[in-house]
């Protein structure tokens, strides 16, 4: 009988917890919770492996995050049943094969390039000062790094990007700015992100892009998806 207590499992070499989230969802959490490219890769791998079996598991939707993956159940389906099916899936050898397939796909995935507008962002001078750089040096260091979308949330299409060079990380602003302009590229602690629409935000704005990130009618170039970026995407900024 599934009581809802977290259950430990292994998937493709990493250690996880299976936790029930109420009666309608489960969270698969990495036992080591960190914001690293390795954790993000493990979550993406798990997400892809389960996506292929979404119908079998009666899963309606997924929410990948830095070090966890949430699965929402279809209405009327049974959570203990899902837990049992998942654990059976994780204990099979198939996962090792899919890890190889996944790695191939992952490295072959096209890079999404985003052009920064020439005008530096609202906080570019402040950021450059904080790091002892000129604004052009700041932008070129920011653009030299390669980023990965770890999770999308806060607002539709807001990507949380891993890969910011550690020397460019800066704690969030002391106060939240009421109106961060749409498509602002920003730094918040060790993360980078992009505000899809104008609204409140506490991150330091380094620049702006022109490419819309959210379109409720869907982007035909993205197979009709409402967001330009998806979790797992690799991103490079051009300046």
């Amino acid at each position: 009988m599934f009581t809802g207590e977290p259950i430990a499992f292994e998937f493709a070499g990493s250690q996880w917890w299976l936790c029930a989230l109420g009666d309608r969802a489960v969270r698969l959490e990495l036992q080591i919770q960190d914001m690293s490219l390795a954790s993000c890769g493990a979550v993406q791998h798990l997400s892809a492996a389960l996506h292929a079996k979404q119908t079998h598991f009666s899963v309606q939707a997924q929410v990948p995050a830095y070090a966890s993956l949430m699965l929402m159940l279809q209405p009327g389906s049974d959570l203990p049943d899902l837990a049992a099916k998942l654990l059976a899936f994780f204990s099979t050898a198939q996962t090792a094969i899919s890890l190889k397939e996944y790695s191939l796909k992952e490295w072959a995935a096209p890079l999404v390039q985003l052009q920064l507008l020439p005008e530096p962002g609202l906080d570019a001078a402040l950021l450059a000062d904080a790091f002892g750089l000129s604004v052009p040096q700041l932008l070129s260091q920011f653009c030299a790094a390669q980023y990965r979308v770890a999770q999308i949330g806060f607002r539709a299409g807001f990507p949380y990007l891993l890969g910011l060079p550690p020397e460019l990380s800066l704690p969030r602003r002391a106060s939240v700015r009421a109106q961060v302009p749409a498509l602002s590229v920003a730094i918040g602690g060790a993360q980078a992100g992009i505000y899809p629409a104008t609204g409140p935000g506490g991150w330091h704005v380094i620049g702006q892009i022109a490419q819309p990130l959210f379109n409720p009618n869907g982007f035909p170039e993205r197979g009709g998806a409402p967001c330009w970026l998806a979790p797992g995407d690799r991103v490079q900024f051009l300046c």
Partner: protein, 340 residues
């Protein structure tokens, strides 16, 4: 030249047959909602939709629509709507006093919530008083004639799309309606009794929100403590005040992760915040547990200021309560279908 322009304009106006619509006179806190949108959570788009689907489904069935047709969802506030042609409506959810005003704004008659009724051309429906509950659904026979966005008519307020221009309704909005010939050939059943949706027991006792623990650390602390619903309530979240829980540093510095409607987050000050139907898909606060399916509609009906308790139950009890809830709901839907 000028005269000619005036004449052609007049001709144009004569040729336009005014289509069926209704005008929002007082919008209060209202928005267009349906069953919500699925499958976009990984893009940060929440499921959304009816905050109290049980009431919305019944309202739709009463006017002959399918259960998940778009409705106007009204959160406790003054609301008035005028029809330009005769339209069949049903109001259901909170226990309210409804009246119909004639074109001179005189009260003509009162109508019972929980049954279908007609609004004639030029008449205004007014939600007069709110006795119990916080969320009311207004269903139109023949449906609202709006465009879907990402597979739903629901208004996503945070991301500003869906519904009517992605926003709350405002005074003066005109909502086009699709006419539904079937709805006009049938009179509402005479003497049809209103449907008691609101559980009377909850008005007299402290409503309890049953929940399943998330790893237990905070659930035991939360169990049966007394809280009060603060005015900081929206479709996205309901904030409560009361006993502050002790959160250890490890829990409050957790990475953000997926959350769902009904999840009980504990804020850094130790007070709970229950996520609503429009909650963000990711949450970083400590999680005490999650309200069970059977109590989600109740969440939408708690009044501001209401006393609330959280009752931590086990999975077997949750399964039983959910099963009873589904049976009760299906019986109610069946009874309405049989009476229409």
């Amino acid at each position: 030249m000028l005269a000619g322009a005036g004449r052609s304009r007049a001709v144009f106006m004569l040729n336009v047959k005014e289509s069926l619509n209704c005008r929002i006179i007082k919008a209060g806190l209202s928005s267009v909602q349906d069953a919500g949108r699925l499958g976009y959570t990984k893009f940060g788009i929440s499921h959304g939709g009816f905050a109290d689907p049980d009431s919305a489904h019944l309202a739709n069935l009463l006017v002959g629509n399918s259960a998940n047709s778009p409705c106007i969802e009204i959160c406790e506030s003054r609301f008035e709507l005028r029809a330009n042609e005769s339209v069949k409506l049903a109001c259901l959810g909170a226990w309210v006093d409804l009246c119909i005003l004639d074109s001179d704004a005189r009260i003509q008659r009162s109508v019972a919530a929980g049954s279908a009724f007609y609004l004639s051309a030029g008449e205004t429906l007014r939600v007069q008083r709110w006795f119990a509950g916080r969320t009311l659904y207004l269903a139109f026979a023949g449906q609202l004639d709006l465009a879907q966005a990402l597979g739903s008519f629901s208004t996503d307020l945070a991301n500003q799309f869906g519904g009517l221009d992605g926003r709350m309704l405002i005074n003066g909005d005109v909502l086009p309606l699709k006419s539904n010939p079937a709805a006009f050939t049938r009179e509402p059943a005479s003497g049809a009794r209103p449907i008691p949706i609101w559980s009377g027991a909850d008005l007299h006792t402290v409503p309890s929100l049953r929940f399943l623990a998330y790893r237990g650390e905070l659930a035991a602390q939360l169990h049966l403590q007394h809280y009060q619903l603060t005015p900081q309530c929206s479709r996205a979240a309901l904030r409560l005040k009361g006993v502050a829980l002790q959160i250890d540093a490890a829990l409050s510095s957790a990475l953000s992760a997926g959350v769902i409607h009904g999840a009980i987050q504990i804020l850094p000050n130790g007070e709970p915040l229950v996520l609503g139907v429009d909650a963000q898909t990711l949450g970083g606060y400590a999680l005490a547990g999650c309200v069970i399916q059977a109590d989600l509609s109740k969440l939408a009906q708690l009044k501001i200021g209401a006393a609330v308790q959280f009752e931590c139950i086990d999975r077997a009890m949750a399964a039983r309560l959910n099963c009873e809830y589904v049976n009760r709901r299906d019986r109610q839907l069946g009874a309405v279908l049989a009476s229409c």
